[in-house]
């Protein structure tokens, strides 16, 4: 689905990612863990195409296309979704209007007819139920006045509405209480399928209790230094990150 080869990324002239290589196949859920400031969000933002993230070396191939050639909206229409760590609010624009514009932008890019308001409303009602959100939710302005939990649930709501093939979830679990966490995890789990992939970025192991990741990677100082399975995550929970740093130092 997506292959990242030796990716080096600068932000404001400082090198943050120092050679990331990662391959995610269809159906897989990869987890990237690491301390704060190691470049986890940088990776998410580069994949989504955010401005000011400069790729100095390396490549990203998404479904046989060079991802770096595509604008953010082209990447979205190609099935790439980013669940933001800090979703921004857009006052005055209500959710229904916003989501309908997004859904139709994707449909249009695929050569499909746009959805009218009636069909859209019927569709969105189903999705709202899945995320345990009341219908009044879609009449509120995007993220404006939303609690932290509502914002994160809104991100997943958008994911299941836009139906991407690669979903990058940037710290989707931060700021959530147990109940909200369960709903979000459930939303992601229900959405999994053999042709969809996920990159979940987190530094807590907690959300992983509700999911079945295929691979767990540790990001440290701009590089993926260790890869494993759920066992690795459990080890990190027990021992923290410093043992990895020591291991690396010993290896020289």
């Amino acid at each position: 689905m997506i292959e990242i080869k030796n990716l080096h990324v600068n932000v404001e002239e400082k090198e943050i990612l120092k050679g990331i290589s990662l391959e995610v196949k269809p159906g897989e859920l990869h987890v990237i863990m690491g301390r704060n400031g190691t470049g986890k969000s940088t990776l998410a933002n580069v994949l989504a195409g955010k401005d000011k993230y400069e790729v100095s070396k390396g490549s990203i191939t998404y479904e046989k296309k060079n991802l770096l050639d595509l604008s953010p909206e082209e990447r979205a229409c190609a099935g790439l979704f980013l669940s933001f760590q800090y979703p921004v609010s857009i006052p005055g624009v209500n959710m229904m209007y916003f989501l309908k514009a997004a859904v139709n932008a994707v449909r249009k890019s695929q050569g499909n007819d746009e959805m009218d308001a009636v069909d859209f409303l019927a569709m969105i009602r189903e999705k709202l139920k899945i995320m345990d959100l009341d219908e009044s939710f879609i009449h509120r302005p995007v993220n404006d006045g939303f609690s932290g939990g509502e914002k994160k649930r809104n991100e997943i709501l958008q994911m299941i509405t836009l139906e991407p093939r690669l979903a990058i979830l940037d710290e989707t679990d931060s700021g959530l209480d147990i109940d909200a966490l369960k709903i979000v995890a459930q939303g992601v789990n229900d959405y999994r399928s053999p042709d969809r992939s996920f990159i979940l970025i987190t530094h807590y192991q907690r959300i992983l209790n509700y999911m079945q990741p295929d691979f767990v990677h540790v990001l440290m100082n701009g590089k993926l230094v260790k890869s494993g399975t759920m066992e690795l995550a459990k080890e990190l929970e027990k021992k923290g990150y410093s043992w990895i740093e020591e291991e690396l130092a010993e290896a020289g």
Partner: protein
């Protein structure tokens, strides 16, 4: 998408910028009593009106140009302007007599004057430079007793009405530009709705400045008798030119007991090029008097054009239980400037006023909202709600707010809210990441911002206004 990439200014060509090739009668530039006498003569005006003009002119000579606005502009040379220009072919009531070039102009502007092709039931008065060239649906309106005609025609056919109301809301002495307009106004629209009549259709006037180096000084007067109702819309465009042109108009509205006047403006005068060269100076005095009890006047404006906009459509709430409303969306892009707002003067008892002002600044645009709410001693139980919001797009524009609140009656209730926000890169990126292109995202956000005002526009024009905003904002993101 870098700032620079977004900043690339692609301002869509102002598509109304074309010039119409038509023979015009134009006065040579300059202003003195002779010019005014000639103007009045051409229009075959009665003596009382010529004297009214001359009185205004003499007063104007003694006045000083106001400089308190928050606007920078080169001084205007009043002697370098021509004060009259009209298409040579005289047009009478029938469309067949209108110069076909002019008809084509209006079609290009999307305003078909052909009665069959007209927007469903909207009567149109088309003013080309200083004269009204055609008014449609006159017969249908006549049946209802509604008078809708060019101002100059009203002077001939309904002099008593004109004499009674002209200058009663905006006297010639009111301000510098009002005095100038009173001296040299050439044409505009006159509307009279008799008692109890609900005007059967929307009335609208399209103003088009064509000739170079002319000023446009139109005068509109709308009188709504007891329990009558009218909705009026004005649209404005002008060709692209390097020089600035002055548009100093006056609009007077009079609403008697239980009457309602709804006045909407979609203004798209040439705003100047992207470097700020050229463009219309739009210095206008608009005022409505709610004379009768329970009368209501509401102003709705969408201002996207003009190099400079300087206007405060206002309401004088004389009648008890009268209502004044002001809904405005003003856009300043590139190097446009606007100092605009409203005045609500509460005199009667139980009067209400609502002000909703939305300003959008982009490029190097500078926008100032200036609002005055005055509650006089006699105005028991007055209520005002004011909301003034600004959105800034990019780093180089400005939004300023000067609210004036003058309350002289202790029973008054006032609410004032103001917000300022910007369309940030993060918001646009969020939309991009959901598949929405940047221009569409800006539209979404701006529409959401303006919808409270757009919903006050007559339906057909709400759509036009939205499209106009989109076009005017092109290239604005940065």
């Amino acid at each position: 998408m870098s700032n620079e990439a977004i900043k690339k200014t692609i301002a869509e060509d102002y598509k109304y910028g074309f010039e119409t090739n038509v023979e015009q009668d134009t006065f040579s530039p300059g202003l003195d009593e002779k010019v005014i006498k000639r103007l009045s003569e051409i229009k075959n005006e009665p003596k009382w009106l010529l004297n009214w003009r001359l009185k205004a002119y003499r007063h104007w000579l003694k006045m000083k140009e106001p400089t308190w606005s928050n606007i920078q502009y080169d001084p205007i040379d009043y002697q370098a302007i021509s004060y009259y220009s009209a298409p040579r072919k005289k047009s009478a009531g029938s469309l067949d007599e209108v110069d076909p070039e002019i008809l084509e102009t209006y079609t290009k502007l999307g305003i078909p004057l052909d009665e069959q092709k007209m927007m469903e039931g909207v009567a149109v008065d088309a003013v080309f430079d200083s004269v009204s060239v055609a008014t449609t649906f006159k017969e249908s309106l006549k049946k209802a007793g509604v008078i809708f005609c060019p101002f100059s025609e009203a002077v001939q056919d309904h002099p008593e009405l004109v004499k009674k109301y002209l200058g009663s809301v905006v006297p010639a002495t009111d301000n510098f530009y009002a005095a100038l307009n009173s001296a040299v106004f050439s044409d505009g629209s006159f509307v009279y709705i008799p008692k109890g009549v609900r005007c059967p259709m929307e009335l609208s006037t399209y103003f088009r400045i064509n000739a170079a180096n002319t000023g446009q000084f139109e005068r509109t007067l709308i009188v709504a008798e007891e329990s009558s109702h009218v909705s009026y819309l004005e649209g404005c465009t002008a060709p692209m030119r390097d020089e600035n042109q002055l548009h100093a108009a006056i609009v007077e509205l009079v609403a008697l007991e239980n009457a309602e006047i709804k006045y909407s403006t979609v203004q798209n005068w040439y705003p100047g090029d992207k470097n700020g060269k050229g463009g219309i100076y739009n210095f206008v005095t608009k005022r409505g008097a709610c004379r009768g009890d329970k009368s209501k006047i509401s102003w709705t404006q969408v201002e996207t054009g003009s190099a400079i906009t300087w206007k405060y459509p206002s309401c004088i709430l004389q009648g008890n239980d009268s209502i004044g409303e002001f809904y405005s969306v003003a856009l300043t892009n590139n190097f446009q400037q606007a100092d605009t707002g409203t005045k609500m003067i509460h005199l009667g008892k139980n009067t209400k006023s609502t002000i909703i002002s939305k300003g959008i600044s982009a490029g190097n645009g500078q926008q100032t909202y200036r609002g005055e709410v005055k509650i006089m001693k006699s105005a028991d139980n007055a209520r005002n709600y004011s909301q003034c919001d600004s959105i800034l797009i990019g780093q180089d524009c400005g939004a300023h707010t000067f609210p004036y609140i003058d309350v002289r009656n202790p029973s008054a209730q006032m609410e004032h809210e103001a917000t300022t926000s910007n369309i940030g890169e993060d918001q646009l990126f969020y939309c991009n990441q959901r598949g929405i292109k940047t221009e569409d995202a800006v539209s979404l956000i701006v529409n959401g911002f303006c919808k409270e005002v757009f919903k006050e526009l007559p339906m057909e024009f709400a759509v036009e206004a939205q499209k106009l905003m989109e076009v005017s904002l092109e290239g604005a993101v940065g």
